[in-house]
């Protein structure tokens, strides 16, 4: 749910990274944080456990510059991927403008990918959204792993509506900005319809 402030000429949008535990959602945010100019980013906040597993969310505010005289800000959130944090995941999807699903390419994680995708569909619905219409992109992460599944197979099983799909190695930054850009584009196009 974007917030347009005509008085200060600002627009804020919320993008959520979703996906199973350890798929690389936080790594995506960390890379974006590292590669963004200091004046265009806020603090990266991680509410994580002592072992660096996301407990509630990570948050990164990103200032992308101006479009049509409006300062455009994206608030990037990740959800905790572990199954038992479902109540928290639901809360973070509240008011979302766009979703990035990060899938783990390792064959052993494909069932976790599918389970998480189902969970996304349900939690979106409970927040009044529909996966079929929400701005959305798919990222196949960890393409560098030896056990990575073939792209075509993953695409067939995980791509839900022909959404833009990217191969990524988030630890090296490959595919990270491409995925974000694809969703940001859809979010801004969606705003233009309102």
């Amino acid at each position: 749910m974007s917030f347009i402030n005509y008085a200060s000429r600002e627009i804020n949008c919320k993008i959520v990274y979703y996906g199973p535990g350890l798929c690389g959602k936080t790594t995506n945010l960390q890379f974006i944080y590292e590669k963004t100019n200091p004046q265009n980013k806020g603090q990266l906040i991680s509410l994580a456990t002592e072992t660096d597993r996301t407990l509630f969310f990570d948050f990164l505010p990103l200032d992308l510059g101006t479009v049509r005289g409006f300062r455009t800000r994206f608030h990037l959130y990740t959800v905790p991927g572990q199954v038992f944090y479902d109540a928290s995941r639901k809360l973070i999807l509240k008011g979302v403008d766009g979703v990035i699903f990060v899938a783990d390419s390792q064959e052993a994680r494909q069932d976790a990918n599918l389970e998480s995708l189902d969970n996304l569909r349900i939690n979106l619905r409970e927040n009044g959204f529909d996966l079929a219409t929400v701005p959305y992109a798919l990222q196949l992460n960890k393409r560098d792993m030896p056990t990575a599944m073939p792209y075509d197979l993953m695409f067939r099983e995980l791509n839900v509506k022909g959404e833009p799909t990217f191969e990524a190695v988030a630890t090296k930054g490959i595919g990270v900005f491409e995925t974000l850009k694809a969703v940001a584009k859809q979010v801004l196009h969606e705003l233009s319809k309102k």
């Binding site: 402030n5 509630f56 509240k94």
Partner: protein
């Protein structure tokens, strides 16, 4: 502006009114910082010593805090906990929900007191609710009269955002 569901759109007039309500609360409650956030974590307006804090993070964490507390309330069968209070050694945070959608945050130290803050917040919250309901009825009357500033947006505009 519809209060629930749709996007939040703020125009100059309401923005000025909200700012003046917050300014008055800031003075009357002897607060350090007063700010208003929506439940999704977007900061709407703020007043006080903002240079010393990261307002964006404050807004997002406040919303996360309220969302988690809302979840707790539902679990035990409450509708919501309308007030949250965090007491620190020097600074305290008073959080209250306005019109089910907005979060009013007051940060104060020993120059003020919880009682004073509660009293002033109650008055300001009522005023804010009034502004919000006026915005809602105005939005209902005008309908979709105002075109989105992004109506004419092009792919080039969007690409330019990512040019760096």
């Amino acid at each position: 502006m519809a209060l629930m569901g749709s996007n939040l759109v703020m125009y100059e007039e309401e923005f000025d009114r909200i700012n003046s309500i917050l300014s008055r609360l800031w003075v009357d409650a002897n607060a350090k910082i007063v700010f208003l956030v929506d439940k999704n974590g977007q900061q709407i307006a703020a007043k006080g010593d903002l240079e010393k804090v990261d307002a964006t993070s404050l807004a997002s964490l406040t919303a996360g805090n309220v969302a988690a507390t809302d979840g707790l309330a539902r679990l035990i069968g409450e509708k919501e906990f309308s007030i949250l209070f965090h007491e620190g050694e020097k600074d305290n945070i008073h959080i209250s929900i306005v019109a089910q959608r907005l979060i009013l945050v007051v940060i104060f130290d020993e120059r003020s007191s919880l009682g004073l803050v509660r009293l002033r917040v109650r008055k300001s919250a009522a005023e804010l609710e009034e502004v919000l309901s006026q915005m809602a009825s105005k939005a209902a009357q005008e309908g979709q009269a105002q075109a989105s500033p992004f109506a004419e947006i092009t792919d080039e505009d969007i690409d330019a955002l990512f040019s760096e």
